[in-house]
Symmetry: C2
Subunit: 406 residues, 2 copies
């Protein structure tokens, strides 16, 4: 017998940094909700919970499926996103807005901050406010820093961008040799920087192709050791391509960028702004330029690029990612349909030679606000990833354009 | 009767900043030369004329066509490139190396500096050194700044990158609103920055989609006017995406970046380094942050990204560009086969509704060292391009991923 579900409206929102496939999750949720008789209206929040409390809503109940499919293929958050991190008072206003709009199920697509919002809203509604509301978190983050999951929707597409960007940039660096530093997103977790290693490919040039050095937030960054690494690679190959996480830290956990600069922007979460600014790359480039000289005192050619927001929205998603982002959303709706009162979704990898993913329900409290880091078995030494990482990451990104050398 | 060609070897090189299709020109040259009986060996120079004088050569006479085709599809310069700008003494060494290797035809793929190298080498060989050598320039530059051509191989693929990057980044900016500045390559000519306008698409959202402001090197940049532009767009849309050429200048021709910074790298041509550094974007972002405040004195969210070297090597070339880069090279070899003693190739656009390109021979001296700028009819006001530009650029970039909004 099907469980008895609270009759009323469903609401859906998107939060945090957008991804190339976050709209697959949005559309997956909407289409799956349409199959449930208990759900009357399907409401979208503009700019996450911000739009809910400000009554900026959009009715998705009858949006043509064909238009939704076009939205699903569009990168970035079609409903708009939000960086708000609601406190209990804000969450009480969210519950009040849900009551006003007769919302009985709440779906929120986002990272670990968003799962925490889900958890607090769920708790306040069902205990303090005595309002029956079922809250579900649909995972999304390019950083891949959600616990309990093999990986997170959004990460595979951003990893695909890194693999393509580093491969192309390494060819550029080989044609006009020098030291090239590329700064990659990922405040706390090094997964995305690590994905640059896929650019090396699997052919016989693997040991010569960039990136030659990778610096992850999980490994303390030491300027003197960094300079010695660059000198060693440059002596061997006459060039050096370097992947650096924007979140690299000192041994005592201070972001390298804060040890180099002052007056940085902080967001509502108190985090220093690491993206949308070229300072870290430029400073590391200066460090190399000042400290490493060629024979005769000539300067090295040193360049730094900071891969900006396009790395999270590039319109060429990984096919695996597009499929899983949709399926994770459907799974969350199925949890609701089966009678679960709250939860999040984890992607797990099935054993076997060929890549296969499955979905599992997890408790909101087990994901909320927690950060997963690159595990030690994925790290090799202080400036590389392991073969195990490459093997893990390879099936996620889809086919990469082949390259050939003369 | 076929013309009598000087019997001997042919040499080919790549020069300047790489592109996504420069290897199409390389492979087109090699395969076309193989059809000529007068040509014995086909030699590649490593890193342009640098490899020729240093005897860093590679024999391409019998490289399997299948391998060459894989190279053609690989971005960046497979032979290696060079930033050397040879003076007459250097050119004399080039001629000497040609004599040593029995080279009778010289093909050089590059921009206006490379066409000048061709011109000087040709002159020194055939007059001062009394050595019969036929020199041909094959056009290539993402900047599109060669005179006499409708456009230049390499530009359409880099323009495609801008259209895709600005469209994705505009969706990102719409989901998390703020002021977003993107710095685009192009030292002297604004074609590539102008191509960002294609990101607006052709639908009914065209007036709301980014980029909302474009700053070109051809229009003097005035900070106060820039701030007024940003305020106006932000008041209308609650966000503002801006395309800025790395080469924006003051009214008296000084690069904006030199008015803001000191101690910049200069290359062998005496040019200030504009790419591979995030300073211009960060400085403009600071300008906005300091001077524009929201109600209540709150700061705007302002971010800047500098589209780095990946914009010239992104492995998703425009199909038109791949085809034309190959065809331009074949045309240069045909000029040689027909008996021309030197020259360059221009792409012209045929009249008619559908896009069609043709190739024309031009004199080296008519291209060498000259710079084409964005013509006035492609510029609208001080911060936009005209419809004529969009109409001109649109057929070059290929199909762009469609997007949809809610």
């Amino acid at each position: 017998m099907p469980p008895s579900l609270p009759k009323g409206n469903a609401i859906i929102g998107q939060s945090g940094g957008p991804t190339a496939v976050i709209n697959q999750s949005l559309v997956g949720t909407v289409l799956a909700l349409r199959e449930l008789r208990a759900v009357k209206k399907i409401i979208g929040m503009r700019h996450g919970v911000n739009g809910l409390v400000a009554d900026q809503l959009v009715d998705l109940t009858r949006t043509p499926a064909r238009h939704l499919e076009a939205v699903a293929r569009t990168p970035s958050a079609a409903l708009g996103s939000s960086r708000d991190k609601p406190d209990p008072e804000y969450c009480a206003r969210i519950v009040e807005a849900c009551r006003k709009h007769d919302v009985r199920s709440f779906f929120y697509i986002g990272g670990n901050d968003s799962s925490d919002t889900c958890r607090i809203v769920n708790e306040i509604a069902n205990t303090r406010e005595n309002y029956e509301l079922r809250c579900f978190h649909i995972p999304k983050t390019i950083d891949n820093d959600l616990v309990l999951s093999d990986h997170t929707p959004g990460f595979p597409s951003a990893a695909r961008f890194q693999a393509m960007a580093f491969a192309a940039d390494s060819l550029d660096n080989a044609s006009l040799p020098g030291v090239k530093i590329n700064i990659v997103m990922g405040r706390n977790a090094g997964f995305l920087t690590a994905a640059a290693a896929l650019a090396r490919g699997e052919g016989r040039d693997r040991d010569r192709n960039g990136p030659h050095l990778l610096y992850l937030p999980e490994v303390p960054f030491e300027p003197a050791r960094f300079l010695a690494d660059v000198e060693r690679v440059y002596a061997r190959l006459g060039r050096c391509q370097i992947a650096v996480s924007e979140g690299i830290q000192t041994a005592d956990g201070r972001p390298i960028i804060t040890t180099l600069m002052q007056g940085l922007d902080r967001d509502a979460h108190g985090n220093v702004q690491l993206s949308g600014v070229g300072a870290l790359g430029d400073t590391l480039a200066d460090l190399v330029r000042t400290n490493i000289k060629l024979a005769g005192g000539r300067s090295l050619r040193v360049r730094a690029d900071t891969f900006g927001y396009i790395q999270r929205a590039w319109p060429d998603p990984s096919p695996v990612d597009a499929r899983e982002a949709r399926a994770a959303a459907r799974f969350a709706v199925r949890m609701f349909a089966k009678g679960d009162t709250s939860g999040s979704v984890a992607i797990v990898r099935e054993k076997g030679r060929a890549y296969r993913a499955a979905f599992r329900p997890v408790e909101l409290a087990d994901v909320a606000g927690k950060t997963r880091h690159l595990p030690p078995e994925f790290i090799a030494g202080h400036c590389d990833v392991s073969d195990a990482f490459v093997k893990w990451c390879r099936p996620l990104v889809g086919n990469l354009p082949p390259t050939a050398r003369l």
